[in-house]
């Protein structure tokens, strides 16, 4: 009898976990490496719910069809978040740990405290934040629950908690003169892999730069136009039209001239009228020059963000942007970009 019961439980377990992996939590959305506890957490939750009376069953010895129906009812992501948000936190536990370690990679002085910080994040999530997420998260985006959006939402919350903890510990962020990840990479590679590492590093940095540009939802085209001018790269007609759709031919000529050898002040003196005409303003050239200067400082801060130290400065960011535009000669979404052989695609 006991043996029969054991076999039934095992069969039920296999049925439920098969449903979990194929339908409710597909492997492509919940990679085993990132969610190693997913099956055990969900199975334990399923068993506990049955023990406490869900599905009017005294135990997990359910036949295949009943097990599937009950599993769909209990373990579907939306239902799980509604009924047991803490279980969702347990599902994401390993993922959250990686995120904490990723954030701490930018603060080497805190690496020894990662366990405490991680536990504190989990505790704060379980003790209130996850319930708030449950109340605020909007599942109304179509029929399919956008699990990736929930993951992003959870990570934004985790990131906020992490920053609160760091602030409470009054941690000084890394400044110039302290280690950054590129030095760590230098210690471990062989000399022959230098070119490969450089290319991989640059591709990743270009991708990050493109993301930063994309976050300028309103001013991206003007920003890119000004960056090109500042780097003394002649903007293409399409670049100018994207920023100023009703730009005249004369204005295009002014903006697309070769300004190599001109100082910034002289350059912006010559182009400010084009900006004023197309934006309906009366700004001085200093205003435009200061605007781009502030934007460059912001770009430096954003690009330094993933390094935990001051990698980018005013000078080398201009060099970086020049390299970027040499590789990717066309601007804009959907435009085919020039690709180096074997480079980023």
């Amino acid at each position: 009898m006991k043996e029969h019961s054991k076999i039934n439980v095992e069969h039920c377990r296999q049925t439920v976990l098969s449903l979990v992996r194929q339908e409710l939590y597909p492997i492509e959305d919940f990679l085993p490496k990132l969610f190693p506890d997913l099956q055990s957490v969900l199975w334990e939750y399923y068993c506990e719910r049955i023990r406490t009376g869900a599905g009017n069953s005294g135990g997990p010895e359910l036949d295949g069809e009943n097990a599937v129906l009950l599993a769909k009812e209990l373990l579907a992501f939306k239902a799980l978040l509604e009924q047991s948000p803490e279980t969702v936190v347990l599902l994401y536990r390993s993922y959250i740990k990686r995120f904490i370690l990723y954030q701490l990679s930018k603060s080497p002085g805190l690496k020894d405290e990662w366990e405490d910080i991680f536990q504190e994040v989990i505790t704060r999530l379980i003790s209130g934040k996850i319930q708030r997420i449950r109340e605020k998260f909007d599942f109304s985006y179509g029929d399919n629950i956008k699990k990736s959006t929930f993951t992003s939402y959870l990570m934004v919350t985790v990131r906020n908690i992490y920053m609160d903890i760091i602030r409470e510990r009054q941690v000084r962020p890394l400044t110039a003169g302290e280690l950054h990840p590129i030095d760590e990479a230098e210690r471990s590679i062989e000399h022959e892999d230098t070119d490969m590492l450089n290319r991989l590093v640059m591709d990743e940095e270009f991708r990050k730069f493109r993301t930063v540009l994309a976050l300028h939802y309103r001013s991206r085209w003007k920003l890119e136009l000004c960056l090109k001018l500042k780097c003394r790269i002649a903007p293409a007609t399409d670049d100018i039209r994207r920023c100023f759709p009703s730009c005249s031919g004369e204005d295009i000529d002014v903006l697309s001239r070769d300004y190599k050898g001109f100082k910034d002040k002289r350059l912006f003196d010559m182009v400010v009228n084009v900006f004023n005409r197309n934006e309906g303003r009366e700004n001085k050239s200093d205003t435009l020059r200061k605007w781009i200067s502030v934007k460059v400082d912001e770009l430096i801060a954003h690009m330094n963000r993933g390094h935990g130290g001051k990698v980018y400065t005013g000078k080398n960011l201009i060099d970086f942007i020049t390299l970027y535009y040499e590789r990717f000669k066309s601007l804009g979404t959907g435009r085919k970009e020039t690709e180096r052989e074997g480079g980023f695609g």
């Binding site: 993922y95 990662w114 963000r305 959907g334």
Partner: protein
């Protein structure tokens, strides 16, 4: 659930709400030129365009989510001391300096010299019986006889090691396992991953001892509420070997055992499942 018409859905205080940030992050994870989703209104985009804090929030999430597997599940131990950042004067592309190969040559030479010294010492000292007797007499170790013909050393019989004595637990209902060997302060990766409440609902809340705390003398194990069934408390070493086991009927137990310095884990179980794993240190 908030509706799309509610401004609180879009903004939280002076910044964009987490939900909107998540939508924008989601659109950028796969495609760095990803257009904002249609659900995001224009004033949210206006704000993000000019707000560095909101941009940073999105960047932190996007840069991680693009490749979460790149971050290891456990932090790597530093093998060499960190070196200071070189001043950033080089322009792109980045270059990497060559490793100093003379370092390895010196290391090999030092090993060779050390071996030569040890071989020379052996022939000079241990082949001369008078030298050996002088050393043994001064050090006070057990007497050894050296065979002059073959150079063999025969050790005197030494006292056998005393068997490890077992101790009884201080509680009347306790039973324990013999202490085999107490480990060091290295963490056990398997147990580390299990630390915390193991209940799906996360409702088992341990109070003392806090994780990573140092204990001395009587250890007071306690949790927030008394559960219905009698529980089992196990104290294990960092190799997951059970050292002491107690049956606990209540929300607390005081334990007084002679623990050697090291890292220990404690587990609370009922008859069906593991409820909690905690960690403490004895210095």
């Amino acid at each position: 659930m908030k509706t799309n018409n509610d401004s609180e859905h879009y903004f939280a205080g002076h910044h964009v709400s987490d939900h909107m940030l998540a939508l924008l992050a989601d659109s950028l994870v796969m495609d760095e030129n990803g257009a904002p989703p249609p659900e995001v209104p224009g004033d949210v985009l206006d704000h993000v365009d000019t707000c560095n804090q909101c941009k940073d929030k999105i960047m932190d999430v996007v840069l991680f989510m693009r490749n979460p597997e790149a971050t290891p599940a456990q932090p790597a131990k530093p093998s060499t001391p960190l070196k200071p950042l070189k001043p950033v004067t080089d322009t792109f592309p980045l270059t990497v300096p060559q490793r100093d190969r003379s370092f390895f040559t010196g290391k090999i030479a030092a090993v060779f010299v050390a071996c030569a010294v040890m071989v020379g010492a052996y022939f000079l000292v241990f082949n001369d019986p008078n030298q050996v007797k002088k050393l043994n007499g001064n050090s006070g170790i057990g007497t050894q006889e050296v065979s002059q013909e073959l150079g063999e050393i025969q050790a005197d019989a030494v006292k056998p090691a005393e068997p490890v004595s077992t101790k009884k637990a201080s509680r009347t209902a306790a039973k324990k396992n013999t202490v085999q060997r107490i480990g060091t302060f290295d963490v056990n990766p398997t147990l580390e991953n299990m630390i915390g409440s193991r209940l799906r609902s996360g409702t088992f809340e341990a109070v003392t001892p806090p994780d990573n705390s140092e204990v001395d003398g009587i250890i007071h194990f306690s949790w927030k509420k008394k559960l219905e069934k009698v529980l089992t408390l196990n104290i294990v070493d960092n190799r997951n070997r059970v050292l002491y086991t107690y049956r606990v009927d209540g929300p607390a137990i005081d334990v007084e055992e002679d623990l050697k310095p090291g890292l220990y884990y404690w587990k609370v179980e009922n008859e069906n499942e593991l409820l909690y794993v905690g960690k403490f240190l004895k210095r």
